[in-house]
């Protein structure tokens, strides 16, 4: 196996190489630094497309697997193991797609310590991609934790007034969950004599006795990350205080790490526990949908509103995952991508407004549609996509989830889906409310009259996202074709346990 030809390695370590390169540049050369970082991010995106080209969508198995022995503890090998399936691939594409755009959004906003910012951003990208690709549980954990450090600094150093409190809360919350997961990982490794994901999957009977506890330990780490109600309290703080680019990555990708973790680890490794926990977690997901929506509606701060909308939207993803039908899980995966695009875009737009007026209070705006028509039009498209209007990506995702979970045997009752449907309506209410408060009505603040419209750079950030929004909205088939075989393989390893239980 020739490793240098494997796109997995390139896509994982190109950002790291970029970070090292940036570190060598002199501090004062800000534009060199920016362009080098951007080149690294774009190269990573190109590598991810290469990955897509080499991927066989008809198979749901892990592909292009790399496995190199790395460490040995107590006679158990810890491998450097990477692999990709349809679900992973979409997450990697999303990451590689959003990072350059987020970087572009910080082009003029981040003026001081550009070098540190770009280095941390690229390190973060390596960590994120590693989390999705890792096939060894210890390696996964290492990448998982590794993402915390750059994000801590991004929030703590470039954030707004309460950034330090927010960064600490973010770090401590996530660390608490993940350390219990580490305990579970070590326990499983010692029981089964391997940390390799595929091998563990084959021998899951060995730790089946403790699977409720193990499920709980993993679920806690992932639920904090998603975040699921009632573990979401770090999220609004982190989002509000993070710089725009940080928010985009946090909402767009880091939250997906939690949902991805549930899919990749909880479901196949602990099938019986999954089936037992499914109604409870789905219930929490529905509570999250409604609670997030209601709280979002009550916000005065535009960024906080978007943050709570994430809680609500991720509730749909979790509902889809724990309904455990082919359709609902596929919808959940698609919705992960959708949320990354739509909410990422929402944070970008709110960030652009902030750059103009230096406030996130919705009352400071109002009626600015006439002043900034381009921004208004693009924001309308973003808002409608987030509100799941037919023809946009959100509709496809949420509709598939709801359809899949109505008759889900794992949940046993259509009430979950029924209540979640209310969430769709609420989403439309609070998002249109947001748009109305910002853009419609009379122009109440004279100072807003001078607000400049979007410049070319800002349009360039939003347009690619909107293209994806409508592509998925109007012709989602290519995406579903990527997702379906992998979801099928995944569920095949969960559902026999279901049969055994009933």
């Amino acid at each position: 196996m020739n490793l240098s030809n494997n796109p997995l390695l390139w896509v994982t370590f190109l950002p790291l190489a970029g970070a090292l390169l940036v570190a060598l540049l002199p501090d004062a050369r800000r534009s060199w630094i920016r362009w080098t970082a951007m080149a690294a991010a774009l190269a990573t995106f190109a590598a991810s497309l290469w990955l897509l080209a080499g991927f066989d969508p008809s198979s749901g198995q892990m592909q292009m697997v790399i496995q190199v022995p790395w460490l040995r503890v107590a006679g158990i090998s810890i491998d450097f193991a990477l692999g990709v399936d349809g679900i992973t691939l979409l997450m990697v594409l999303l990451t590689a797609f959003l990072v350059p755009l987020a970087m572009l959004s910080a082009w003029s906003g981040v003026r001081e310590r550009v070098k540190g910012f770009m280095i941390l951003f690229l390190l973060l990208e390596t960590g994120l991609i590693g989390v999705f690709l890792a096939l060894d549980l210890v390696l996964f954990y290492i990448f998982w934790e590794f993402t915390l450090v750059p994000m801590y600094f991004l929030i703590g150093l470039w954030g707004y007034s309460r950034r330090i409190y927010a960064a600490l809360k973010f770090f401590i919350f996530t660390m608490f969950g993940s350390l219990l997961m580490l305990l579970a990982i070590i326990f499983m490794g010692l029981q089964a004599g391997t940390f390799n994901y595929t091998d563990l999957l084959a021998q899951r009977e060995l730790f089946a006795g403790a699977q409720l506890w193990l499920f709980f330990a993993f679920a806690l780490a992932f639920a904090i990350k998603v975040p699921m109600f009632p573990l979401h309290t770090w999220l609004p703080d982190a989002h509000v205080e993070a710089p725009t680019a940080g928010s985009v990555i946090l909402a767009g990708i880091m939250l997906k790490m939690g949902a991805y973790g549930f899919l990749r680890y909880n479901l196949p490794l602990f099938p019986e526990a999954t089936l037992r926990a499914a109604p409870w977690l789905a219930g929490l997901a529905v509570v999250g949908i409604l609670y997030g929506a209601a709280t979002a509606f009550a916000q005065k701060d535009a960024k906080r509103l978007v943050a709570y909308s994430s809680v609500s939207h991720l509730g749909f993803v979790m509902l889809g995952i724990f309904a455990l039908t082919q359709q609902s899980v596929a919808g959940g995966v698609l919705q992960m991508v959708n949320h990354g695009l739509s909410t990422g875009a929402l944070f970008l737009v709110v960030g652009m407004l902030y750059e103009r007026r230096h406030t996130r209070d919705m009352a400071a705006y109002g009626g600015i549609w006439k002043v900034v028509p381009v921004l208004g039009a693009l924001m309308l498209a973003v808002v409608l996509s987030s509100a799941a209007l037919p023809g946009t990506n959100g509709f496809v995702g949420e509709f598939t989830i709801l359809l899949g979970s109505f008759g889900a045997p794992a949940l046993g009752t259509p009430w979950f889906a029924g209540l979640a449907t209310v969430g769709v309506i609420l989403a439309a209410v609070y998002l249109l409310h947001l748009y109305e408060r910002l853009f419609l009505g009379p122009l109440t603040h004279e100072e807003n009259r001078q607000m400049p419209d979007l410049n070319l750079r800002e349009v360039l950030i939003l347009v690619p996202i909107l293209v994806m929004v409508f592509w998925i909205g109007l012709y989602p088939q290519p995406f579903l074709d990527l997702i379906n075989p992998s979801v099928e393989t995944l569920l095949q390893s969960v559902l026999p346990a279901a049969v055994a239980m009933h």
Binding site: L71, I142, Y152, F153, L157, L179, L180, I186, F187, L190
Partner: protein, 494 residues
């Protein structure tokens, strides 16, 4: 590994080398003028490197552990590996001291440090209670003087006296324990004691309660050396008052020496009481983690913070020792040894940066580290790496240390202890991140201060230890194998 038989004299070549080096330093100190004496730190570090080379090429331990010098010393993997740890710690400390005008121009400082290192090296290989006691005192007495070395600094002298009083008291308690062990078994040979308890050498068998009593007395002395709660009271005061480099040396090399003795004596002499000492050590571990982490939260002085952190870190390492008693095989001691290696690099880096900053800015308050990033980016990065490693964040050495220690606990069935450790690690993160946050506070909040000029020796020390943190973590295997060599030799009796 190594050659089959090794002559007793070759076996102690590294120790003789240390002694010779100390003598050379004292002679140079006499003949060199003040300016030349500033280079004594480099001479010491170079000499230590030479001793390390000597140790690797001449004094490799034989395949099977061997007793030499009438059973006084034991040549095995543990004595070899831990000697390397002490040499590395001493070399980095020497570099850290070398530009410090108050310490570096005095040859005695290096000579005392070398004698103490010699004592540690003997502690790691002692196989007889007489040798062990002498080695511990050879280590400690120079350290008392080093802590109080700054005679004009009241805090330093007080630290020296406090350290001495606590140290002498715990060593007296330990000595009383030794006398009981001797009385029960009629031997001072550590590897014969276990047989003596059960009456295999003609003496009557001893009451289990009496054995446990003697063991607890001995544990007091060892607990003091590793600064485990409740024998930790000296640590914050001594670390704060002592010269920073000495505090770094105390918290790494001296602690490692305590651990190797603890592991050796518990496993060899008290093998029949394994479950009892496992429980006692687990209690010490919990106490250290809780006391260390929670008291560290309130600290304003960086050296006191690091002192409490070092108590907490001893707690994590003790998980490995407790696991060894609870039935883990070689994994627990391997884990503790690996953790010590990781901790050596990590804490030396941390104390190195603190020493440099306090010499340059004159402050040890955490608040005065604000904006350090702008004034000394290299030192800040080294401190960040060290602090993240202490907090157990991958890919640094501290993370792998925690993983193996926790794994050993789980393997031995001490999952509850590991869970307590994990909860403590979260608390620990809080204050480690606080330090980090202060160091990287934003530009406009710091008044225009000038960049700090950092001498070459300090740079070397910081770079070496920071590189060590990354290398021990990412290139895990060689270090792990080294630790395993030490661990398995500790578990081979005869």
């Amino acid at each position: 590994m190594g050659n089959g038989d090794i002559s007793p004299l070759t076996a102690v070549l590294p120790e003789l080398g240390l002694l010779a080096l100390a003598a050379i330093i004292l002679v140079l100190d006499l003949f060199w003028d003040r300016k030349a004496r500033a280079n004594l730190g480099w001479v010491t570090a170079g000499g230590l490197l030479l001793v390390a080379v000597l140790s690797v090429f001449m004094a490799q331990p034989p395949e099977t552990p061997t007793l030499i010098w009438g059973g006084m010393l034991r040549l095995d993997g543990a004595s070899f590996v831990f000697r390397m740890i002490f040499l590395a710690g001493a070399a980095i400390t020497a570099l850290m001291v070398s530009e410090n005008q108050r310490l570096s121009a005095q040859g005695e400082f290096y000579a005392l440090m070398l004698v103490s290192t010699l004592g540690m090296s003997l502690m790691a290989s002692a196989a007889d209670l007489v040798m062990l006691y002498l080695a511990i005192e050879t280590t400690s007495i120079p350290l008392y003087i080093l802590s109080g070395f700054l005679l004009r600094d009241q805090k330093s002298v007080e630290a020296g006296l406090k350290y001495l009083l606590y140290g002498a008291m715990t060593s007296a308690v330990m000595l009383y324990g030794f006398s009981l062990l001797y009385g029960f078994t009629g031997t001072t040979q550590i590897y014969d004691i276990a047989a003596g308890f059960s009456g295999q050498n003609g003496l009557p068998a001893v009451y289990p309660a009496a054995v446990i009593g003697a063991m607890l007395l001995v544990l007091v002395g060892f607990g003091f050396k590793v600064s485990a709660a409740p024998f930790h009271f000296w640590a914050p005061d001594v670390y704060e008052g002592a010269p920073t480099a000495v505090a770094g040396f105390l918290s790494t090399a001296s602690k490692a020496a305590g651990f190797v003795v603890l592991m050796r004596v518990l496993s060899a002499a008290f093998s029949d009481q394994a479950l009892v000492w496992s429980g006692v050590v687990a209690a010490l571990s919990i106490g250290s983690m809780v006391v260390g982490n929670f008291l560290a939260l309130a600290q304003k002085n960086i050296k006191r913070l690091l002192a409490y952190s070092s108590i907490a870190q001893a707690g994590y390492m003790l998980i490995g020792v407790a696991a060894a008693g609870a039935g883990g095989e070689s994994l627990p001691y391997t884990a503790t040894t690996y953790y010590l290696l990781a901790y050596l690099a990590t804490n030396l880096a941390a104390f190195g940066v603190v020493a440099a900053v306090s010499r340059l800015t004159g402050s040890e308050q955490i608040a005065d580290y604000r904006g350090l990033n702008q004034r000394a980016p290299g030192l800040s990065l080294a401190l960040a790496v060290a602090v993240l490693s202490l907090g157990g964040i991958p890919p640094f050495a501290g993370f792998f240390g925690k993983v193996v220690v926790f794994a050993s606990g789980i393997q031995a069935g001490l999952t509850w202890l590991v869970i307590i450790g994990i909860l403590n690690a979260v608390v620990g993160l809080y204050y480690y991140l606080t330090v980090l946050r202060v160091v990287y506070q934003r530009a406009e909040e710091v008044e225009g201060e000038t960049p700090l000029a950092i001498p070459a020796a300090w740079k070397t020390a910081a770079v070496l230890s920071a590189a060590g943190i990354v290398a021990i973590g990412v290139l895990f295997l060689p270090w792990y194998n080294l630790s395993m060599q030490a661990a398995s030799s500790l578990l081979t009796f005869r």
